[in-house]
Amino acid sequence: MRGLIISIISLLVPVGTALAEEKSTLNSGDTAWLLTSSALVMLMTVPGLALFYGGLAKRKDILNTIAMSFIAYCIVSITWIIVGYGIAYGSTIGQFFGNPFEYFFLKGMTPSTLSDNIPAVLDVMFQLVFATITVALVSGSYIERMKFSAWLIFTILWGVLVYPVVAHWVWGDGFLSAHGALDFAGGTVVHINAGIAGLVGALMLGRRKDTALIPNNVTLVALGAGLLWFGWFGFNAGSAYAADGAAAYAMLNTNIATAAAAIGWMLVEWMHAGKPTVVGISSGIIAGLVAITPAAGFVNVIGAIIIGVIAGVCSYYAVAVVKQKAGYDDALDVFGIHGVSGIIGAILTGVFADPAIGGKDAVGLLYGNPGQVVTQIIGVIATIVYSGVMTAVIIFIAKALTGLRVKPDAEEEGLDQSEHGEKAYNI
């Protein structure tokens, strides 16, 4: 995929830089956009996701929910430059993971080391913010009952053993990359991965005493959704790795699919439950952002609209109907939104990928390449299996080390008090 993106870029860049692949030179415009994109994706986690999740949590658990995202960002930032980046992008070991120590504390990288058109260290940074948000996303399934110490252990292990490995498969020299799986900005690596980890962990943690989702502060939900959308422009359009037409298309597709998904969720909620809600519109926004992530640079706007609407509607049913029936306690619907819309997006990328947008290596079913759908499904399944198994192992280890759940009393009293000794509002 990385190679693909580069070849797309080279098509678009004016003649003077056609030699880019032979002898790299720094492009300051592309570098400016990747610096900006890195900052935007950082904002998605701290404070975007933290407040989105926090607003949805119960009043007595909001700070713990925020703390889970904040600390995940901090811990994974550190592990990433020790071994994470190496596992993801180091020389491949059997197409399964990269050499963990190849970039140990970024040894050998100076400001003038380039990675194609941008500084090498900027690639480290941009990939870092992807790793951090993926881990933080998982927390949404676990809130209101998990020990903070257990979450720290989970964060360290999952951030080293799961995320970078799947990133290697798809974006490094891994086997999915070799098979031509399309994942523009991380539908599989980020969202399916986090969604499955959320589901498996939620099952192992067990249900909360009070599983109601009555948001303590919907203004934070709206704020979080807005910051996530804003940051996602960096996530998706930054994944073009250049300030060019591919980036612009990815941004526009992201916007269109998200708008369509929000409208889709709102309408189906209106028909099914009687009213269109702000929490619903915000949830539809996230579903759309997730679904367009793998497709953003590959589909045309009609494809983007269709993907958005399908994601909005399906995630609504997953969350409002399926979860209720199945009875697992995925507190903030990480599986229902990131898992389900991630899978939808990954597969539909194989359907709608339009070579006029993404170039000759990104051709979907509708444009005569049914095999792409199969490739996509293989990618999805591989991720589900690996993420599911590894999450179970890691949760098991955390349980052994610290125990998983707070005491029943503490759960009732709220984790803000039991884990942090503080209160969100004195107003």
Binding site: I214, P215, E269, V319, V321
Partner: protein
Amino acid sequence: MKKIEAIIKPFKLDEVKDALIEIGIGGMTVTEVKGFGQQKGHTEIYRGTEYVIDFLPKVKIEVVVKDDDVEKVIDVITKTAQTGRVGDGKIFVIPVEDVVRIRTGERGEVAV
């Protein structure tokens, strides 16, 4: 002296307050409360799941008055807070044995 506690609909507060002032009531204390009664609560829907909110927002007005004024106050509150629909609320009359005005230390009816 008596304390008159009225549980009313929040949007009636201003009207009731004004009416009480008009009949010469010089003080009252108001608390935001939640009421449960015959009036059915509503449901809130988040992500397609319904939650029943059976406590409804109400306002409690407390007015301490001389015995003579009790009927007048009840009358005024009943009239102004009434919409005729379920959930209009209740008035309770409770005996008060003494009143103190903190500022002056005065006791009894003069302190009301």
